[in-house]
C-alpha cells in the first residue's frame, strides 16, 4: 500500500543526515537511495537530450552506469525518460534485453546488478530520471508506487530550490563535455550533434568515460584531427 506521508518523512530524515555542504540534488539523491534501500543512485536531467546532465551519482558504479547509458544512447534510464514510466532491468538476467549492448557492457563493468529507473515528473513533463542500483537478489525497500512518488517529489524539491534554474558551475563535468564538443566542432568543421557522437564513440572504443575523453580534449592532450595517429592511445 502506498504511504506517501511515511516516505516523505523518511526522505526528510535521510536528508537531514546528509552532508549539508553538498548540493540539494546530491542530498536528495543520497536520501532516496537510503530510503529505498538501494546500494547506489543517480539523478540525471534531460536524459536523452543534448543538454543532459547527471546532477549526482552516489558512487562510481552509479556514475559508470549513467555514463554508459549516455555513451551508448540506450538503457533503462533512456526508456524511463522517453516513456514516462518506471523501468526495471536485471543485468544478471541473460534473457534477451531491449538494450543488449548496454546490458553486456554494464554486466562486464559492474557485474549482475538490478537497475530501477523512475521518471522524475511534473505534470506531463518528464524532466529527468532517478535511477537506483542494487545487488541482484535484493529488492527495493518500498513499493514501486512509493519510489515513483519520491522521484516526483524530488522534482518539486529541485524546482523550489533557487539555484536550480540558474546557469550553475557545479555542473562543470558536463561543461567539459560541452566544451569538448565545441572543440571538436572547430577541429573537424562538423555539427555539435556529430561531434558528440564522435566523443561518445571514442569513449566506448577506449572503454573509458565521456568525462575522461572530454577532459583529454579540453586539456588538449587529444585532438580529433590526429585521430588516425592517436587511435588506440589511452586519453586518460
Amino acid at each position: 500500500m502506498t504511504n506517501k506521508a511515511t516516505v516523505l518523512v523518511q526522505l526528510a530524515r535521510a536528508m537531514s543526515h546528509a552532508d549539508t555542504q553538498r548540493s540539494m540534488a546530491w542530498r536528495l539523491c543520497l536520501a532516496c537511495t537510503r530510503v529505498l534501500g538501494a546500494d547506489s543512485g543517480a539523478i540525471t536531467l534531460a536524459y536523452t537530450r543534448p543538454e543532459r546532465v547527471t546532477l549526482c551519482a552516489t558512487d562510481d558504479t552509479a556514475a559508470r552506469l549513467e555514463d554508459l547509458q549516455d555513451v551508448l544512447g540506450e538503457g533503462p534510464g533512456a526508456d524511463a525518460f522517453e516513456s514516462g514510466r518506471a523501468v526495471r532491468c536485471s543485468l544478471g538476467d541473460h534473457a534477451a534485453h531491449r538494450w543488449s549492448m548496454f546490458a553486456d557492457s554494464a554486466r562486464q563493468a559492474v557485474g549482475p546488478l538490478e537497475i530501477h529507473a523512475f521518471p522524475m515528473r511534473q505534470g506531463r513533463s518528464v524532466i529527468g530520471v532517478l535511477t537506483l542500483y542494487h545487488a541482484s537478489g535484493h529488492r527495493l525497500r518500498r513499493e514501486p508506487a512509493e519510489a515513483q512518488f519520491l522521484a516526483d517529489a524530488v522534482v518539486a524539491a529541485l524546482l523550489h530550490e533557487p539555484g536550480t534554474t540558474k546557469t550553475p558551475s557545479p555542473w562543470s563535468a558536463r561543461a567539459s563535455i560541452d566544451q569538448a564538443t565545441g572543440m571538436v566542432v572547430a577541429q573537424l568543421a562538423i555539427s555539435p550533434q556529430d561531434a558528440l557522437v564522435l566523443l561518445k564513440a571514442h569513449a566506448y572504443a577506449d572503454d573509458t568515460s565521456l568525462d575522461l575523453v572530454a577532459e583529454a580534449v579540453v586539456d588538449r592532450r587529444f585532438d580529433f584531427r590526429h585521430y588516425d595517429d592517436s587511435f588506440g592511445s589511452d586519453p586518460s
Binding site: L45, G123, R124, L159, H160, T165, Q179, G182, V218
Partner: protein, 247 residues
Amino acid sequence: MADHRTTPESQGDARTAMGRSFAQVLGELAEDPEEQPALERIVHQAVEAVPGCDYCGVSLRRGRDKVETPASTDPLVDEADSLQYDLQEGPCLDAIYVDDTYVVDDLRTDDRWPRWAPRAAALGMRSILSVRLATTSGTLGGLNLYARETHAYTRHDVDVAHLYALHATSALVMTQKVAGLQTALGTRHVIGIAQGILMQRYGVSKERAFEVLRRYSQHHNLKLRDVAQELVDRGSIPAHGPAIGDG
C-alpha cells in the same frame, strides 16, 4: 446552482464540492508542461467554475511594467484588455497593481475607469470580476471574468474565483519553473559548446573564452545565450580582434 447560495451550510457543502473539483482541475492543469496550454485550460475552466461568467481572460505580467493577455475564451476579452493596456486604466491592471479583487456590477454606471468603462460597455460587457494571481514572492497577473448581464457576480462567486485563482497560480508557477529549468539546461549547453569553439580556434582557456562571449554580449547588448547560439549556428561572431588571443 441558485439553491446553493441560500444557507451557510449549503454554501459550505458547495465549497467542499468546489474544492474537490478544483483539485481535479489542478490535476488537469498540472498536466500541461507548457504555459500556453495551461493558460487555455485555466480560462476555459474558469468560465465553467464561476456561475454568471460569460468570458474569461488571464492577464500576465511580463517584466515589471508590461502586462499582456496570453489567453482568453473570446476575442472580446482580448479587445477589452487591449483597451486597458492602451489607456493604462481598468480592473485587470488594478487587480495586479492596486487591490486583489474588483467587482463591477454595471460598467455603464461604474465611475472608477472613466475612459475605459464606456468602451468596454460598448463591446457588450456589463459585469466584471477581476482577481489577482499571486504567490508569496510576487504577483503573476490576474484572472478576469466578464459577463453580459449586470450584477452577475455574488459574494459566493467572488469566493469561488479566489479559490480558483489560488489553484491556477500554483499550476502556473510549476509550469513556469519547469520551463525555467529546461531553459537553463539549454543555455548552459550552448554556452559550453560556444566556449569550446573559441577555445579550439584561438587556443584560449575556457575562462577566457567565456569572457569573450560575455564581453561581446555586453558590448552589443545581446543575451549571452544568443551570442553563443549565433556562434554555434554560424561558426563565427563578428571579428573580435586581437583581444581573443591575449593570455
